[in-house]
Amino acid sequence: MIKTYLLIDDEADSAVSVALHAEQLSAASSGTLKINVRNPGSMQDILQFVATSKPDGLLLDVAFVNSVTADGAPIPYDGISLAQQIRTLQTRGLHQQGTNFPEFPIIRFSQPDVIKQYITGDTTSEDLFDAEIDKPDIIANPEQPARLAFSIAADYPKLSAYARKEATDEILAQMLGCPTDFLTRIGARALLGLRRDGAPTHVLSRYLTSTLLGRSGPLIDESLLAVRLGVDRISSNDWPALRNSLKNAAYTGVFGYGYPRWWMPLVLDWWDSDVNSESAPSRLDAKERVSQISERTNLHGLTPLPEDPFSPGKRFWHLCSRSNRPVDPAFGFPLMPKWGQEPWQDVDYLCLEEARRDRLNPRLAGTERKRLASMREV
C-alpha cells in the first residue's frame, strides 16, 4: 500500500532542503510514502488543488513568508490559517450537501524555530493538526516520522468510517484493536473522547494521537514499558525478545503502527501469567523484577536499571518528564497536572536532579517543595 502526502511549503520551488525532506521521508518508508511538494500560492488555488488531487494526507509548513501570489505579492496567510480553512471545509462537507471536501490528516511539518516564533505558548492551533513532525527529525531519524505519517494516512479511512457510525462498544473496541470486554478495564472517562456524537474525523484523530497515545496512562510507550519491567533496554541484548513476549499486550488499534504502545493492564496480566510473581512489579526493585523475568522467561540477556544518584530509589516506575531518567515514585517529584491533563493520564514526574534545578516550577506543589528542601544534596 502506498500513501501519498502533499507537502505544502513556501520554499518548495527554491530550496533543496524541501525536496531532500520529501526524499528522505519517502526513502525511510521503504516506498510506502510518496511525497509531492507544492508551493502554497493563493489560498483559493491551493484549496482547489487539494480538493481535486485528493492526497491521503498533508504535510503542512507553518510559515509561508517566502511565498508570493501570481502577482508577486506576499501571500496573506500561513499554514495555520490554511489548516483552519481545510478543517472548516471538511466539517462542512460532513453536514452540508454540495460542499464535499475530502477528509484527510494534516501533519504540522516545520522547523522548531518557526514553531517557537509562531506557536509556542499559544495552544489554539494545536487541535488543527493530527500530529506534528519537526523537520530536523527527518534528517536525524527519518524512520519513526515515516511510520507515523504512513500509519495516520493508512488508518484515516477506518477512523472516518468509525466517526460515521454509532460508537457502540463493539465498534469502539474494534477500532482500538481490543476485545469488547476489555473496554471496562480502560475506564469510561478515557473513552469519552472517542464517543463524541457528530465529531469529524480529525477531532477523534487528535484525541487519539495527543491524549490516548500521546501521554502515558492506559497505554505506555516502549521506554516506559522497559522502566516498568526494570530493564535497561539499551544494554539488554534480550530486550527485543522480551518485548516480543509481550505482543499480546501491544496496542493494535488505529495508528498503532505509527505509535508503538502497550496496554498497561495487559502488561500486568502478562506479569501475573508469565512471570507469576507473588508481588506486583511496582513492589519490587529493578533487580528483583529482572531476576524474576529472567528466571521465568529464560531470557538472561537482560540488565536491570542501575541506581542513579540523580534519581534515587530502586523501584522505578516513571520517566522524568525533563531528563528521561527512570524515577522511583517514592523519591521523585510529582507535578501538578497541566491544564487539560486528564485525571486518568499518568502524572508527570521530575527526578531529584531536575527538581533541584527547577525548584520554582509552579507545578511543584507546596508539599513537594518542602520535601525537596528537606532532602540533602547528593
Binding site: F182, R185, D346, V347, G366, R371
Partner: protein, 224 residues
C-alpha cells in the same frame, strides 16, 4: 452452578468495583488530595483481569479468586494533633497507602456480592513520614500501621493471630529500624477487626489523618 447468567452478573459486579475505583481516582485528582492517583486507576483496571487459582502451597489450594492492588498511593496530609515525639513537624507530611484485596469467585449467582464470606485476603498498610527537629537538625520519623489477613490461620502462632487484624508497626518500619529510639514496637497485640475493602479502608485512613479535607470529601464521595 456457574451459568452464562452467573458470569454476566459476576463480570458486572467486578465492573462496578472497577468503576468505584476509577471514580475514586478522579476525585482524588480533582481535589488535589493525592499528587498521583494512578495506583488506584491501575487497581481498577485489574478488577477484570484473569481469574487466579490458589497455589498448592496456599490455603484453599485450587480455589479461584480475583482481586486488585493499590500500590503506594500518596496522600497529602494536614497537620496532626498531640503527636509523640512532640518535636515532630508534620507540615508537608505525606501518607502512603498500599492495599491488596483478593476475593474468591462465588459458586453461584446468589453468592455474588457476599464479600465478607468470599474475602480471601485483605492486606493493607498505611505509613506517614515526617521529621523530628532536635537542636536544629532534622531526623526522619515514621508512623506505620496495617490491617492484615492471617491467610494461614490453621498454623500455630506464638501470639494471638486473628484472621483479620489491626497491628502497629510491621515491615514498613524496616527502613528506619536502626534509627528508632525510645519507643518499643512489639509484634503484639494484633487486634481483631472486621475485614474491609479498599474504599472503606481509604475512608478510614482519611477520616483519621485527613483533617479538614475529610468532611468535604465525605460529601463528594460517600453520599450514598
Amino acid at each position: 452452578m456457574r451459568t452464562r447468567e452467573f458470569w454476566a452478573a459476576f463480570d458486572q459486579y467486578r465492573d462496578e468495583r472497577a468503576d468505584e475505583l476509577f471514580e475514586m481516582a478522579s476525585t482524588l485528582s480533582d481535589v488535589g488530595l493525592s499528587p498521583d492517583a494512578a495506583p488506584i486507576s491501575q487497581a481498577a483496571s485489574q478488577c477484570r483481569s484473569a481469574i487466579k487459582v490458589a497455589a498448592s502451597n496456599q490455603p484453599d489450594a485450587g480455589r479461584e479468586y480475583w482481586g486488585y492492588q493499590i500500590d503506594g498511593l500518596k496522600i497529602n496530609l494536614e497537620d496532626q494533633r498531640h503527636l509523640r515525639p512532640r518535636s515532630t513537624v508534620m507540615e508537608g507530611a505525606r501518607g502512603v497507602l498500599t492495599i491488596t484485596v483478593h476475593e474468591y469467585v462465588p459458586q453461584n449467582e446468589h453468592e455474588i456480592g457476599d464479600s465478607y464470606a468470599l474475602l480471601r485476603q485483605f492486606n493493607t498498610d498505611f505509613y506517614v513520614d515526617a521529621v523530628q527537629i532536635i537542636e536544629d537538625r532534622e531526623h526522619p520519623v515514621r508512623a506505620a500501621w496495617h490491617l492484615d489477613t492471617h491467610l494461614y490461620s490453621t498454623t500455630v502462632s506464638r501470639s494471638a493471630h486473628p484472621r483479620f487484624h489491626f497491628q502497629i508497626g510491621g515491615e514498613r518500619l524496616d527502613e528506619i529500624d536502626d534509627r528508632i529510639r525510645g519507643v518499643l514496637v512489639p509484634e503484639a497485640p494484633r487486634i481483631p477487626c472486621a475485614p474491609f475493602e479498599a474504599i472503606c479502608f481509604w475512608q478510614l485512613a482519611l477520616a483519621h489523618f485527613g483533617g479538614l479535607i475529610w468532611p468535604t470529601l465525605g460529601t463528594l464521595m460517600f453520599r450514598g
